[in-house]
Symmetry: C2
Subunit: 368 residues, 2 copies
């Protein structure tokens, strides 16, 4: 097992273009993560995201395309460099859980830019949770105080354990204080993390969870302009990892919190519309994370500064995660092949595929 | 076999939302078309497209999202009404044929708007050829002279036979005059159509093919500002079905041809960028096809008018085609199920999927 090349995609260059993309199902992705180990997976994805963020200028970027409906949104997130293209399909339907469905479901495709041939179709529901947590940790490593040990985790739903573990293993967090409107969610999160080695505390209020925390992570799901975090809760030196506010009309942080903080985003044109900064004027100053990672701009300027990572999720993170999962699946021999594209002996003779085994005799044409 | 409800999607409403979308592979789509018959398939798809064009205002529409590269383009084409969402992935790489690959490869997904759950993943390479020809024929039925019998077919590549047969069966064309720069392409097209009942003539020049034709169909593939059809070739009363000019820098008709014609498009914001009308001023008058189909605007105004359908392919046509293929596959019991989305007993417990069968003991967490 060798998934250790975050800088490039050597697997692609070695592969003859196949018209049968590799398919990684949801159960296969679980098996893959179990084989590699969750910690190694999150570290690997974080490494790939980091490497791709350093190549920011190489990418053809755009804000995602969203179709909004009454109860949710369906989005497509395409991105490409000179050799590789990817997109993610992802929904956001907070009321789904009441029906036994996930709020967020996703899948994605990676394709060859030179020919347009799809190379990889993968589940991205689990993978999105991994890459979101990896991105949060990557940001916190350059934005939070280096001695951060205690994290408040507000919202204990599907994303929460991944956030806790990414911060434990990639940032060095030792204590996680859990809060959710639904006590069952906190209990579930606590149970899932019981053997993690984290010191876990269930709190009765947001204020209790946040007080004295080094990092505050918000991963709530309601599609509403909520103010989970108000400025009276904030202490000097805190880093706020705002993950749940990620589409128009869905926020978590009070405007006064943003105004008092140095705010970092992924891709400004998308974050202005979808992030917590949708509450702020268009010229509200933000710094893009890649600029900090690349050393072009400063992250945290002093120990008592309040920093906010206003995360919405950007296509480049999925590009990197797909790249990691593809290399891992190839290395482990996992996944199966799909006949998604017709195989033609003469590419100008698409019609010939209909003739080979005989068309129904409807007076149109009959196989020779 | 009953695929006879172009007005709505009854199959969806009857289905409990499944997290295992139906998958129709490229070979399965061939089998489906062979089972139903090509003529019935094209007629059915045309009927579904017609029905959806009449509901034009019901759709959340946008121009497709394109990632351009040196040799081609990869596009995503999303669209949704209140209940159903769809998108198509499609590339355009004219140099692919030299490598034995298709110029155009496509697949698509249909999803449930209320929950975001994907319902159907289908090949769309063959299906795109069917829906493009069906749309062309649908437009010609309201734009060409009703007595049209002779069609010039310029460009005899992968799309050509589908165009010929759609015009034969849906418009009443009896004679097709073939021209391609590559004589082998014309020979292939002629051979494929040999039992169609069409009177087929291979021509030595575009001028020879076009002279006296009632309808001129252009389906060339070069990504260049070509002028396949110049105004000296055009005769009063002709209908031009311009299919090949479909992205920036890819045109087929001389500007003077457009200036002398009444021009019809699918979705104006997209056609201004991608269609042959990209050569014309932004205020160049065009009529949208749905307006003619709905009786809101006139099509051909008199027998000697020159009409142009400046077709680029619009997401609504794929929406309708996916709907047809889905209903047909369900009715025929074709396709298989993909586990693309995790099945969770508790949707807030995505992490639990990793625990069920035991995580690798990497110090992170171990299954109970």
């Amino acid at each position: 097992m060798n998934v250790s090349n975050p800088q490039s995609s050597p697997v692609f260059s070695k592969l003859a273009i196949s018209l049968s993309p590799l398919y990684l199902s949801a159960p296969a992705a679980v098996e893959l993560v179990q084989s590699i180990g969750l910690k190694a997976c999150m570290a690997g994805i974080a490494e790939f995201i980091h490497a791709d963020f350093l190549r920011w200028e190489d990418f053809d970027k755009s804000a995602r395309v969203a179709n909004h409906s009454l109860d949710g949104v369906i989005e497509l997130m395409p991105i490409a460099d000179d050799t590789t293209y990817s997109f993610k399909y992802v929904n956001g339907h907070p009321k789904n859980t009441a029906m036994g469905l996930s709020t967020v479901m996703a899948f994605g495709v990676m394709a060859d830019v030179a020919t347009g041939a799809p190379l990889f179709l993968s589940e991205l529901t689990l993978t999105t949770a991994l890459r979101t947590a990896a991105t949060s940790a990557l940001a916190a490593k350059v934005l939070a105080r280096p001695d951060s040990k205690v994290m408040a985790l507000i919202g204990n739903g599907a994303q929460s354990e991944f956030q806790a573990l990414a911060f434990q293993h990639l940032v060095g967090i030792e204590t996680v204080r859990l809060y959710d409107l639904d006590p069952l969610a906190s209990a579930k999160c606590m149970a899932n993390l019981s053997r993690s080695g984290l010191d876990l505390q269930i709190c009765d209020s947001i204020a209790q969870a946040v007080q004295g925390a080094d990092i505050v992570t918000t991963v709530t799901a309601d599609k509403s302009c909520a103010t989970i975090i108000t400025s009276d809760l904030i202490e000097p030196g805190m880093h706020i990892n705002g993950v749940g506010g990620d589409c128009p009309g869905k926020t978590e942080l009070a405007a006064s919190v943003l105004a008092a903080s140095k705010v970092f985003v992924e891709y400004t044109p998308q974050s202005r519309v979808e992030g917590d900064i949708q509450q702020m004027p268009d010229d509200f100053a933000v710094t893009e994370l890649w600029q900090v990672l690349k050393g072009q701009k400063s992250g945290r300027d002093h120990v008592s500064q309040i920093t906010v990572f206003d995360s919405v999720g950007f296509a480049l993170e999925d590009f990197a995660a797909l790249r990691f999962m593809y290399e891992a699946a190839c290395a482990l021999g996992m996944g199966e092949r799909l006949s998604l594209i017709p195989k033609l002996s003469d590419p100008k003779n698409l019609f010939g595929t209909l003739l080979k085994t005989g068309l129904k005799s409807d007076g149109l044409c009959v196989a020779s």
